[in-house]
Subunit: 347 residues, 2 copies
Amino acid sequence: MFSVNRPVRVAFYGVGVISASIARALLEKRGVKIVAAVDIAEEKVGRDLGDMLGLPYKLALIVEKDAGKAFSKAKPDIVIHATSSSLKQVYPQITQCIKAGTNVVSTCEELVYPYQKNRAIARRLSKLAEKNEVSVLGTGINPGFLMDTLPITATGPCLKIRRMKVTRMMNSGRRRIPYQKKVGTGLTENEFREKIGKKEITGHVGLDSSISMIADSLGWRLDDIVEMPPEPTLSDDTVKTDYTTIMKGCVAGLRSVAYGIVHGEKVIELEFVSHVRVEEEYDYIEIDGKPNVRLKIEGGIHGDIGTTAMIINSIPKVINAPPGLHTMNQLPIPSATPVELNKYVKT
Amino acid sequence: MFSVNRPVRVAFYGVGVISASIARALLEKRGVKIVAAVDIAEEKVGRDLGDMLGLPYKLALIVEKDAGKAFSKAKPDIVIHATSSSLKQVYPQITQCIKAGTNVVSTCEELVYPYQKNRAIARRLSKLAEKNEVSVLGTGINPGFLMDTLPITATGPCLKIRRMKVTRMMNSGRRRIPYQKKVGTGLTENEFREKIGKKEITGHVGLDSSISMIADSLGWRLDDIVEMPPEPTLSDDTVKTDYTTIMKGCVAGLRSVAYGIVHGEKVIELEFVSHVRVEEEYDYIEIDGKPNVRLKIEGGIHGDIGTTAMIINSIPKVINAPPGLHTMNQLPIPSATPVELNKYVKT
């Protein structure tokens, strides 16, 4: 596709918190050049990308509004797409990228494994990508790694799998303020339930994608995927975070669970716990099979850093992949990218 | 290559302990048929495979001597090759398989990542496989998973890697008798060191392959790979195992370490500990980077079961791969095979 002797040309679609984190990490790499940035928000368009990313210097790149035009002109090798969790919402945006002839790696949770809930869109994207000879991938830390790619990999040394449970324990008080707000920190229980009803609090997005990806890899035909509404975790004491003060009995965070079901049995169980009272952060994979596997990531993986890294580390893999829509369980194993980002990009 | 509607045709090259374990596990799957078996040992040739595998029934398959002839006639989709750890020794055998037009998955430790120590052979095998349009892979639990594929995967959510250490703690007293013998169980320290000198005890084979694979994935150019001779672990008490009685002060097992070195610094460190005094079995991956990752498999993974599973689970991936010599870090992520082995095999 291009020579490893020139920098990889990267563009951004969506200039928000995650894009800023990705851009800052990219600027510490060699063999990479940011060539365009697009956002739909009027207040961002026309501003310098360096300013928008909170850098202390300008990048001499103006945030543009028209993605098709920007990418057709800048000819990026890959667009880093980070706008929304909803595949229906991002579908026209991904389409613009593909039609401009560029590969795409996206943080869109519903794109990580779209063949269950959004099969029709997935097929259209796949065909369009093949026709335009580009590759598209949705990834991130979760969905994308902790509750799907890693647990699937952990079944590699197993002869049989009976069931699998994955737990993620996070202390939300150690995360950025918008995240604390997202999990309902400090609300009363009634306020929390109201916001659940209005879908202002959604819990963790993508548990169903992770379940579908696991089932696909193991060859399991699920009868059902059940996502329970997030349950508030109430604080047993008054707790201060950098975001707010949680009164005793108010919401410290939440717990989301989802199941993959065969013959009434929960063969896949994903549990996502995020509140300020979590003492030990970890990710835990329990595989009941032959043999059993018990895998623990002590201390867990920081969500924002993890997603930033998963996106960047996917760049060579997406560019090198055959044309089409890809999922993490079909690509080569994840790995940290060398400092020279263009090192493992094929010509 | 063939239709998913017929069984996958599997043949064996080498009818020993590991092949027996693989065959028994395969016989519990559907969509798979054992079509040939070959061994170079005169005493095995001409015997029924069922007898040779220790099954309570015959398999109506005679162990043959001439691999080229046997595989050309039986037309397996894939040969499970399990004869020796030495790539130089197995090279002619793998060549026979390739020339007979069959894919190969091998337990040969030195084939897992042959591009460092056996580069010339690796290139010849790769070219020959491409020419004959078949795929070849070396894999197993270690090398193949615990000290390379899994640690590499664990770097996926990292922006930077400074160093990595992987430790495998095994209680050899819980393993089969030939294994206990292999790690010097019950010897005096002098006997152990003599056997090391004569290469009758080699320690764990393949640490260098794992180090090379990690370095390749991370884009690290190592100055050196150093494998230390195995050190005996002496028992502080008299211990009985099902193999022997270890007198106080005699050998309880061994410890092997190997390093990948850049500018005099041990950036990769693999530590393999296997003796009867190990109380907690585990595998532990320590990645120092951004972020740090601490990943533990509690209780470890049983070596023989793990290798059996890694070989079987690689069958669809090897058959579906493009022609050539493959390594675990270039193939799609590992995963347990469905009960129907032919389920994920492409036409």
